[in-house]
Symmetry: C2
Subunit: 406 residues, 2 copies
């Protein structure tokens, strides 16, 4: 290895350390960064200068004397410049968000529409149109997304959606189709790199980065949508499995001869605890989407028998499958996201009973503490946008508007 | 960090690299090691000298000219000296083995006996007596085990068996009790360090180190014993979970109101696919152990209806649970060990049918290739002994009979 390359690599690494130290601190000083990162004040000053110049950090004149040592000017993540774009395409909505370097949600657009059975290229073009609008809002706020992550409810690997049964998709080259459609809306702009990812994976990352999990770095995320998605996080890293398809908890069997599932099997969990199944069992219109879920909450609150029994059954089935997953994976916590957040008050008690009875480690009688609702404002689309920002934090120079100065 | 400490660390690391290179090659020369490890001939020679002197390697006079370059004398792992002791305590047997530095099984003792419900200290004392006999055989072969690993059918963390329902154990300090009992048999010898581990974890490591998995580095291991054990290996590393209890696939629910399980729950997989359950369903005496399993194989071969239907049901249940685990963990392969090896011809076809129908990635219609029997001669007790040897390979100097020379 050339000494020059070695020095460059170290500097790039240190730029990332400093940037992440500021992000973690929220507001800090050069001295604060130095204490956090363990490099000398002189080294920190040089790194901070470069990050200020490239527009990743901003500095305010006010002094800050909360720490020992002489007061310094306050460093923060830049509120403008480099950002991430997230786009979630789900069965009955498209959601787009732009996240800045601090991880803050700065633009959000949600459109409820029926994507079921639509040609993938049309659905992706529609999502690109919504994304283009979000990018226009980002422009107005002087935010410049440097990449896009697509959140999709299906098996995604190497940019291809292998199968998204609830959308009716099979082998769709989602990244390319979306990039093309988005470029058509922005003829004068450089194309944004696009990557596709499973939506539950991204929701789990959002929970890891922005949620209230505290020390829990190993958890199972289960998301109620039209289907039931899942993701495993092991010591703060997404567990992808051998082919990128890990986490598909929605297709665990709960009743071997139960109803046919869109995946081709029978009696899968999502036939009992997915949104459509819960609405149907409660006597509601399963195509009613978010409105149907609100109605289900309303009926459960007012003691409607059918709603309560649909939720009791769904929660029990969920608890059985989650018990098996806890026995297999031994997580610190299980996080319930998607529609399981609003439905948690009815789903969690029967699910906890199953966990208490069936988890062999005996660590889950306290299931109430370990089985928790996802944090508000952590969802797949925010995870998607934040994943782009995460890439920036890992190697800021690669995204610098000015050429790297080594 | 002191420069001296830095040099020491690098040398210790390089000694490990060289030792593992010889182990992987089987037989090689200094030139062969140099090519594999990427250090200079001079550096390799010095490292090899130290490993020869400490008795980790042996050298034979015969030259070897299979490779380019001038022929050299042949290096091999030492057949004597440092070794590992493994002790498996299962419900109806105790198995002990001593493995040398090359990973070869050099002593093996198996005693079939009923450990169910015996006081843990008595069972451990009995196992220690058998281990002492194995150590005497090791002595005769000039092998010197430097540690013991205990394989136990239960939840093991931090040296304590939290629960081993099929043994009737709860919160047993197995490491200490075994070490004491073994020391009583060898009053003149230094005490061997003892560590306890879940038996399926060790069987999975044996499969990883000595089995025929080829490139598959992410797999699920499922072992049929009195209960059903399991282990997850992710990229060549055991996945232990947040508390060390991962892999407990035997307690996945297959029939929520099914028979009571010793774990306290109902309708667990092991009530359908464990050894006792299979023997019982086939009309055999469930306390008949290994003999009962042979009889089951015999009856299945001769077309006995009851045996065939017990195995068909067990295989289907196994396939359902394994499908769920594959959907969650996305492994390259599933390895069936323990009694599932001899029973594979009857269990695998119904299990494969479930996998083909229920694994959503669609990667498992070729389940026959991915669902495979454990390799012969890879079992928990060999994994246990090899785990001790693995520690030696990672830092040979720590186990050198002479003081480290830095």
């Amino acid at each position: 290895m050339e000494p020059k390359a070695g020095r460059d690599t170290v500097r790039r690494h240190n730029l990332s350390l400093v940037l992440r130290a500021v992000r973690d601190a929220g507001e800090t000083t050069r001295a604060g960064v130095s204490a956090r990162v363990g490099l000398t004040r002189a080294a920190i000053s040089s790194l901070v200068e470069q990050l200020l110049e490239a527009g990743f950090l901003s500095e305010s004149g006010k002094t800050f004397s909360g720490h020992a040592g002489r007061p310094g000017t306050v460093l923060k993540m830049a509120r403008t410049g480099v950002a991430g774009l997230g786009v979630e395409i789900n069965v009955d909505y498209v959601s787009v968000c732009v996240v800045d370097l601090a991880g803050t949600d700065r633009v959000r657009l949600v459109e409820h529409l029926d994507n079921r059975g639509g040609a993938p290229s049309r659905v992706l073009a529609r999502a690109a149109r919504i994304a283009a609008r979000a990018l226009a809002s980002a422009d107005e706020q002087e935010l410049r997304p440097v990449g896009t992550a697509l959140a999709l409810p299906g098996l995604v690997a190497s940019g291809t959606v292998r199968a998204a049964p609830n959308l009716g998709w099979s082998r769709v080259l989602a990244e390319g189709l979306f990039a093309e459609a988005l470029a058509a809306h922005r003829p004068q702009r450089p194309a944004l790199p696009v990557r596709a990812e499973n939506e539950a994976n991204l929701a789990a990352l959002a929970e890891l980065w922005f949620g209230g999990l505290g020390d829990a770095r190993t958890f199972l995320y289960v998301s109620g949508e039209i289907g039931v998605g899942g993701a495993l996080v092991l010591n703060g890293e997404l567990l992808r499995g051998a082919h990128g398809f890990a986490g598909e908890i929605g297709h665990a069997v709960v009743a071997p001869d139960g109803p046919e599932c869109r995946c081709g099997s029978r009696g899968c969990l999502e036939q009992y605890a997915g949104q459509s199944a819960l609405l149907r069992a409660a006597g509601l219109d399963e195509s009613d989407g978010a409105h149907g879920v609100s109605e289900l909450v309303h009926r459960a609150r007012s003691g409607d028998e059918r709603a309560l029994s649909a939720l009791a059954r769904g929660g029990t089935m969920l608890g059985r499958v989650v018990s098996g997953a806890v026995n297999l994976f031994d997580p610190d916590a299980v996080v319930l996201g998607g529609i399981y957040r609003p439905l948690g008050p009815w789903l969690a008690p029967p699910a906890s009973r199953e966990l208490s009875a069936r988890v062999v480690s005996g660590l889950w009688p306290v299931a109430a503490a370990r089985l928790r609702a996802a944090s508000p404002a952590t969802d797949a689309v925010r995870g998607a946008a934040a994943m782009v920002v995460q890439d920036v934090l890992t190697d800021p120079l690669a995204y610098s508007p000015r050429p790297a100065t080594g």
